[in-house]
């Protein structure tokens, strides 16, 4: 047993933290009001820097969620939630899909540039119905010449408007495949940015595919039912878990600074128990969430049989704690917190995405419940 970071784990966490100066952190806040051009240029700028630090290739080879990965993610998620989401979808979701399931040619073509932050990728899975639990994919690839003709539409695709490559999940007859589509490909239409509650610095859009021709060399799969969709969902859950840690850090830090500096009745408001005790609960939630997230990562790293259970526990607890912590932070910041453009209101809006995306809190609880019932 060892609750400390190893030297390697601590090093990557600190390195990621050091990449961002106060000025750069400030400029990242502009992302929240940015258009697609700003979001893409900012993402590419930071992807290159993160690439040089080795961030983008973490966990790429084996798809494992590791303690080292979470340590790095926690640092980045604390700097900018929107940048974090863009980077993770590109590096960890799209990157892992290609690295683990792609062909040697696909890996050779895409991974070096992806690892160096030279290109942005994304994966398009969700469709109109959103939930894949009970609904099959309706996007289909029909054999056409040396490849497929793709038709369908996808919703809520993070990075779609700024991506160089999109991996679209669809059906080929009865099996699932991913179609790698380069931006500008005929038949691919990128919709307008969706106006979302949170993650406003992330380009989330719909895409439409109308007779989109895909060469067979750009197809990953086809796969038997479930795989690698289940793996993608696991990766996504882990990213959202780490994002929650970052959000809680941001909210707690903002609330703490305010509580120590803002005075009421001649004393800092932290001296009032109604404020101090909220901060105590916020820290308790953060520390508990951290331990769950890291233990889940360690279990995944060590192939522990309880790893999926802990991953669900961590996803539910961390994402729901993120909402509670943001809510308390908003309350402590008072009128200041209610103004647009601070970590508390941002965290409060972002939190719902964390709970809905990936495996939703409800589905996660059902899966946990099923596992518990199976064990008895």
């Amino acid at each position: 047993m060892d609750f400390d970071f190893s030297e390697r784990q601590g090093k990557i966490r600190d390195e990621v933290r050091r990449l961002f100066t106060p000025d750069s952190r400030f400029s990242l806040e502009e992302l929240e009001n940015g258009n697609d051009v700003l979001i893409r240029s900012s993402a590419l700028h930071w992807l290159k820097i993160l690439g040089r630090a080795g961030y983008l290739v973490l966990g790429l080879g084996d798809g494992r969620n590791t303690v080292e990965l979470v340590a790095a993610q926690e640092s980045l998620a604390t700097v900018s939630p929107s940048l974090f989401l863009s980077v993770e979808v590109s590096a960890r979701i799209f990157g892992r899909l290609v690295a683990i399931y792609g062909t040697p040619d696909q890996r050779a073509q895409l991974l070096p540039a992806l690892g160096e932050g030279e290109l942005i990728g994304t994966v398009a899975i969700s469709e109109g119905c959103m939930s894949l639990e009970n609904n099959p994919l309706s996007t289909t690839g029909v054999s056409f010449g040396q490849g497929f003709m793709l038709n369908g539409s996808k919703s809520h695709v993070v990075n779609a408007a700024i991506a160089d490559w999109i991996a679209v999940a669809g059906k080929t007859e009865e099996n699932t495949a991913f179609f790698l589509i380069n931006k500008g490909t005929e038949g691919l239409s990128i919709g307008q940015r969706l106006s979302t509650l949170g993650y406003n610095g992330t380009a989330i859009t719909t895409i439409t595919l109308e007779n989109c021709p895909i060469s067979s060399k750009y197809v990953i799969g086809p796969f038997e039912e479930g795989q690698p969709l289940a793996a993608l969902r696991t990766w996504e859950d882990q990213i959202l878990t780490a994002a929650s840690l970052g959000s809680m850090h941001r909210c707690l830090d903002a609330a703490l600074v305010h509580a120590k500096n803002h005075k009421s009745g001649g004393k800092p408001i932290i001296a009032y128990q109604e404020v101090g005790f909220k901060l105590a609960e916020m820290l308790t939630l953060l520390q508990t969430a951290q331990l769950l997230a890291y233990r889940a990562a360690w279990m995944a790293e060590t192939d522990d049989r309880e790893a999926p259970v802990l991953a669900h526990c961590a996803k539910i607890f961390c994402t729901e704690s993120a909402e509670q912590v943001a809510s308390y932070a908003l309350q402590i910041l008072g009128g200041h917190g209610y103004l647009r453009g601070n970590p508390a209101e941002e965290g409060y809006r972002d939190a719902k995405y964390l709970q809905i995306a990936g495996t939703s809190s409800e589905i996660s609880r059902i899966k946990l419940g099923d596992t518990i019932l199976e064990g008895e």
Binding site: M1, S6, Q273, T288, R295, V309, R365, G369, I372, L373
Partner: protein
Amino acid sequence: MDFSFTEEQMMFKEQVIRFATREIVPRVQEHDLKGEFDFQSFRKLGEFGILGLHFPEELGGSNADVVTSVLGGEALGEAGVDGGLTLAYGAHTFLCADTIFAHGTDAQREKYIPKLATGEWIGCMGLTEPGAGSDVASLTTRAEKRADKYILNGNKMFITNGPIADIAVVYAKTGKNLEQARISAFVVERGTPGFSAGENLIKMGVRSSHTSELVFEDCEIPEENLIGQEGAGFLMALQTVEWDRSTLLAPFIGGMTYVLNKCARYAKERYQFGRPIAEFQAIKHKLADIKIFIEAARSLCYRIAWCKDQGRPLNHLEAAVAKLFVGDWSLKPANDAMVLHGGYGYCHEYEVERYFRDSRLAPIGGGTSEIAKRIISRLI
């Protein structure tokens, strides 16, 4: 980071579960119902080696580390041992015996630890007073030095094992006057003139543990019963916090696992609307929430235990976080477990109501949740 247990630790946990299931659990319900302390089970804990687990072998212990001690406590809870017996064990081993072991003289260790490790003697700790709970510094029990004796006067309150203890570690103020007085710790043996225990208090939960007032009226004890130095008592009391936030909380967490297993079994057996209630989403959600609490709480307690094993000074912030989480966040899952059992859950036979009552102590005993928040808000 490494969250693994050694093979020996896991084997030990399994052994404790088997032992407790066979030797202790069959009597748990009866003692809870009657509010009686189970002397037989307590002695069995001693024979098995639980009571003195972390003490050196020459003093009757097994030289176990703190993490193993936490596993032992968790295992007792997981087997279905009630919170009363595990609280009695915690107060005896960690609040009483360990204070003597950690701060006492060789003579005190040799005299008391072997008897406490086997359960031949039962120990308690007298810190809380009728007017001094979390505000330890305000305690008013006095220990006046006269020649080679100390004369104790004062009252202690809510003392676990008070009515049945053979020895008590008692905190009292020493010094010429109250302004300059500092807290010191003493061993007081049962039968010492002037020392008496009150009636067992009837409690909501942890009913098989006996709790009472301790009364000291011109109670004379020899000066060699002072533990450590005069005035060092406050720090000794603080050091029990590490045990409190790890080993004393562990049985609650283990107990929640026991309850979760019961819930899962019941949900599969109980049919409503033509199918087992396990098939309803709301039931699965409750099971999930109980599981999340267990896993979250475990890491917090093991962190405190691991840090103690590393010889690190107590991190008050992390200790308070563990206490606050286990205390406050255990209430909903304990309630969920009872509600999941419906009317049966409200009845004693199904045990979940016992756990519900026992778990209500978690946000109160050993420092309330409010005190934990106060500590955190001052250290943050």
